[in-house]
């Protein structure tokens, strides 16, 4: 009995598919195209995380490593200048929409334990880990993705195309950190931020995330990693909101060292929480100076 599944058309489709797939992988292995554009924030985060996971210069504490410390946090600490941090052997694993919990989980799963982890305290236990992202990074096929680059999000054909287009067109306005802010948008955004930061915190969820954070931090401490909290500067009008006060209260109860808090009044943000380019540059210098005592 000959089933149609073995028809010549079916086999031809599969053969052409394997040929294209192999050719694309050979292209990626040999040319190693520079990927400078992704389609959206989620992809950017995955690419960013996969770069860390597959980066061979970051190894375990006991072995030689190009980095002594790692920062985990959200889009706020993603503003800290990565190039400046790299000179001080600090890897910035903070990403937009990300959380300290996701960052810590990534470090744990890759076992690339640094000497110290700097944890952004602003939303450390107010944003849960991204389970979807972690599943994508550490799923059953993650080992396969390391050796078959065509399966990595970074090398999606559309990203290769966008990077090519961007190479011709130059950096987009979205990518450059904002030099100046639109005052009307800033005011509207700050109003919404104040409202959001003053909303009632779901204490059951907050306790669950806090418990998860404690477990992760205890794990790292047991492995000999030093944990240090730091606060990103935000608009002064947010300092007395429920969320910020709740975070300060919890930090007091934690036994972990904290970097001296920033002087919020000297920094400017685009929307209340994300630093303008100049402020990000200034804060990066301040941050590196403060971390010297710990590294």
């Amino acid at each position: 009995m000959r089933l149609s599944i073995f028809s010549s058309n079916f086999l031809k489709i599969l053969a052409i598919f394997f040929a294209i797939f192999l050719a694309y992988n050979i292209f990626l292995w040999s040319c190693k195209p520079q990927i400078t554009a992704t389609q959206n924030q989620w992809q950017q985060n995955i690419v960013f995380a996969q770069d860390f996971i597959y980066e061979t210069k970051i190894t375990k504490i006991a072995e030689s490593s190009a980095y002594n410390a790692i920062i985990v946090g959200s889009s706020m600490s993603a503003r800290i200048d990565s190039a400046k941090l790299a000179k001080s052997h600090i890897y910035n694993l903070a990403f937009g929409g990300g959380s300290a919990l996701s960052g810590l989980e990534i470090i744990k799963q890759t076992n690339k334990l640094p000497k110290a982890i700097f944890v952004e305290s602003n939303i450390a236990f107010l944003r849960p880990k991204d389970a979807n992202m972690l599943k994508q990074l550490f799923g059953v096929d993650s080992a396969m993705k390391k050796y078959i680059p065509a399966l990595q999000v970074k090398y999606q054909p559309i990203n290769v195309f966008l990077s090519f287009v961007k190479g011709r067109a130059g950096k987009s306005k979205d990518e450059k950190l904002a030099k100046q802010r639109n005052e009307k948008l800033y005011k509207d955004s700050l109003e919404r931020m104040i409202e959001g930061y003053n909303a009632n915190i779901d204490s059951a969820k907050y306790e669950a995330d806090l418990a998860e954070l404690r477990v992760l931090l205890a794990y790292f401490e047991k492995q000999g990693v030093e944990i240090i909290f730091f606060e990103m500067p935000i608009d002064e009008k947010l300092l007395n909101t429920k969320q910020v006060l709740a975070v300060h209260k919890v930090l007091k109860d934690f036994a972990y060292p904290t970097l001296p808090p920033p002087n919020h009044s000297i920094y400017q943000t685009t929307d209340g929480i994300h630093l303008l380019e100049k402020s990000a540059d200034e804060f990066s210098d301040e941050f590196i100076k403060k971390t010297r005592d710990f590294l």
């Binding site: 149609s4 554009a37 959206n40 195309f161 979205d174 948008l185």
Partner: protein, 412 residues
């Protein structure tokens, strides 16, 4: 699971009783009972949070708000109603023994490819297919191609567009200019089509692997030149169900103009309500009801010339009107939908260059898909006859899928 089995058994018992009762009154009683039980299950589980939110705070309201929404309930309850009504009209659907009939009904209600998000099966189409299947009769190549097309639409087009139209959520859209909002709206229209059509094709492909032919659920709806044509091409299984089991029993278009308009409005409003327990869905349904009524009135007053550019203009108009309606799907909170419309006329904010480029790339794939359909109709040439195209789609499924997420219609 318990609910699904209970629903299937109730439908089995009711439909068996209908088919094996000779008395007209008793038959009618069982039919009405069967329909009411299905509707009661749907209302109790799907609309209880809506009722709970309307009641003053108390234990009963809290209870209503805490009732979970079972997966696929909107689909299998409609299938139950279809079974009961079809058996009432035609006894031959039911098996002679209760055991065999119950087996067939449970199989029909719980047929897994279509259980979660359709297509909505009709008993008179599905029951004749229930018999032993043989491997030699399975159309593997056709099923394989249908699955590739389904996964391409869902994983490559819809899932990638979802990551762009994310910015339609409140309050993100407030930061962007009018052009960006128009791009997002068009992107969402393409996304919802690709998501639902993709899922339907996956369901159809899986069913084919088991030897069952499910009805086509989408027939290139965005080339419709009228709203009535749109509803004959979009979510065909729902629109045909509503026509057969609601519109025609209400009198259809046989009882004069005013009654026809009323019937159209009721059917579309209830169709909207079927989608979810939120005001925005009812308004969406009413919006389409009003469009259908206005179209009918206009067609009675004047006839547009059948020129090509007039047809193209009509297609564009229908597409834009339908896309506008999807806003209520995307932004369930009606105040957010109003804010979006207001922002459309306020050009302050950034233009989303990367988002526009990505929406353009993925939408162009759908545009090519539609153009291929038109080309095929006109000249008989079909790009999808080329094995290279299937291989490329398969390659993109593996290398260019977006972040996985539930099908949009999963929530219904």
């Amino acid at each position: 699971m318990l609910l699904l089995i209970s629903s299937a058994l109730i439908n089995a018992i009711t439909s068996y009783q209908i088919s094996h009762t000779s008395q007209g009154k008793a038959k009618r009683f069982y039919a009405i009972f069967g329909v009411c039980v299905n509707l009661a299950i749907l209302c109790a589980f799907k609309y209880s949070p809506l009722f709970g939110a309307m009641l003053p705070a108390g234990d009963f309201a809290t209870l209503l708000l805490s009732i979970p929404l079972p997966i696929g309930i909107s689909f299998f309850t409609f299938q139950g109603i279809s079974l009961v009504v079809d058996v009432y009209k035609n006894n031959k659907i039911a098996e002679s023994t209760p055991k065999n009939h119950a087996k067939n009904v449970v199989f029909f209600i719980a047929f897994f490819p279509a259980l979660i998000a359709g297509p909505i099966l009709k008993a008179h189409n599905f029951f004749p297919q229930i018999r032993a299947k043989y491997l030699k009769n399975i159309p593997f190549l056709r099923a394989f191609k249908v699955l590739i097309l389904g996964y391409f639409l869902k994983n490559v087009i819809a899932d990638n567009l979802k990551d762009q139209t994310f910015w339609m959520a409140y309050p993100y859209f407030l930061s962007y200019d009018s052009a960006s909002l128009v791009v997002l709206l068009i992107g969402y229209s393409v996304q919802i089509f690709a998501d639902f059509a993709g899922y339907s094709l996956i369901a159809i492909g899986v069913a084919l692997l088991f030897g069952y032919e499910l009805p086509k659920n989408f027939n290139f709806p965005y080339i419709s030149a009228s709203f009535s044509e749109f509803w004959s091409r979009w979510h065909i299984s729902l629109s045909s169900w509503l026509k057969e089991y609601l519109y025609i029993p209400l009198g259809g278009n046989k009882k004069g103009n005013l009654r026809t308009y009323l019937n159209l409005f009721i059917v579309m409003a209830l169709g909207g309500f079927w989608h979810g327990a939120a005001v925005s869905y009812i308004i969406w349904g009413c919006y389409h009801g009003i469009l259908l009524i206005l179209e009918r009135i206009c067609s009675q007053i004047f006839t547009l010339p059948k020129w090509r550019f007039v047809r193209m203009g009509r297609i564009l108009f229908v597409f834009l009107a339908v896309s506008f309606g999807w806003l209520l799907f995307c932004l369930n909170d009606f105040t957010h939908a109003i804010a979006f419309i207001q922002k459309l006329f306020n050009n302050e904010g950034e233009f989303m260059r990367v988002v526009a480029l990505c929406v353009g790339i993925y939408s162009s794939c759908i545009l090519i898909y539609y153009l291929n359909y038109l080309l095929c109709k006109k000249s008989g040439k079909n790009m999808l006859d080329n094995n290279l195209i299937w291989a490329i789609m398969l390659f993109l499924i593996f290398t260019n899928s977006g972040s996985s997420d539930a099908f949009i219609y999963f929530q219904f």
